[in-house]
Symmetry: C2
Subunit: 212 residues, 2 copies
Amino acid sequence: MHEEMLATDGRIIGERAIATRQRLLDATLTLLRRDGVLDVKVVDITREAGAAPATFYQYFPDLDAAILALAEAAIDDEAPLVDLLLPAWSTPADAERARAFVDAYARYWSEHYAVLVLRNLRADEGDVDFRSVRSRANLLLVRRMAEMVKLGQTEGRIAATLDPFAAAAAMMAMLERLLAYQNELSRRGSSKAAQRETLTTILFHTLSGLAT
Amino acid sequence: MHEEMLATDGRIIGERAIATRQRLLDATLTLLRRDGVLDVKVVDITREAGAAPATFYQYFPDLDAAILALAEAAIDDEAPLVDLLLPAWSTPADAERARAFVDAYARYWSEHYAVLVLRNLRADEGDVDFRSVRSRANLLLVRRMAEMVKLGQTEGRIAATLDPFAAAAAMMAMLERLLAYQNELSRRGSSKAAQRETLTTILFHTLSGLAT
DNA sequence: ACGGTCGTCTGACGGCTCGTCAGATACTCT
DNA sequence: AGAGTATCTGACGAGCCGTCAGACGACCGT
């Protein structure tokens, strides 16, 4: 189950090299946060990591490859969120669990913000690798949400006109994007608490058919 | 009401220069679509526009300034969408109008995709100018949607726990982001028609309190 | 301890874009 | 036609990209 790590020339790398590679990834994350998503330079990353620019290219063919590796790592933090959707929400009391999910997703998103934004950019542009990593991350949640909708439909709580998969994707879209607006929104009239409650209400209703 | 256009050195520019400036903006749009959002070079823009690189900097201090101008222009196409939200949706038959709004917004979004993505990136990063232009564009719709929610609440159609402004923003977020997922989604199980119906259902319910 | 070997790292380079001048060019008006 | 202004450009220093050939250093066998 443990993949050998490779350098760009194909050779299997040892312990020292793995540490260097990791230092480069850490530095990339640091600079993504410090300089913003569009202004990260390879030179700066290597400076930050205390290495020569050429070292970077020994482990990543380009900057995107490093971002991709970080996006892969982020999947591990998204996976546990599925547990908060089990079992399906089916009584008004489950609204509390919806709230917990919203909170957990918000934490996940803010933790990985820069990497996820870049991942989405590249995936939207059509890059196959970034599409794949995004799918693997999101399908975990989307599939589960779609099941919740389907169950709600068979139990008559949710209208049959809703497409379960599309509804699930819509909820993910809403969560993702609204979290980016968060700061600006709270400057324009809706407190974070109000945003949280509103997200919870809409999410809970869409996935369970119930009102809060 | 008509602002004089200025060069970067502050002088008011004449007709020929306005045309050149416009050619540069057109070229920027072309390349944003051709090369993707992250790979547009000033040199390429001027090549495309048949001008020297230095000419670009006569009208825009940097690439962002040109994008900002394009984002300003996009507002004109977002404004008319407000009309589709007047008067408020209050009967099941109004679902048809919600559908029309979803379609119109989808058209607007795909028309301006590249510019809007960059606008959001810069705005999310905290850039004041991009924040301002995004607010001016989105507040038109968000304010109107918030009014619809408020009305629905006074008429007892919508739960009072929903924050009108946050709910409106959540709907915008859902629309924006889901449209970016559109292609991938239709490859994974939900036809565009199903996505459209699902968006309509959720939007209609959130803003009117009614089922489709 | 010592030289050899292989894995890892780096200095230095050509090629490119950026953004800025000073000066060339094109238009306008008399 | 010629003066004057508006507009454009060639050429440049600076900085990043991505690639080599070779330097370094950790570990091995003797």
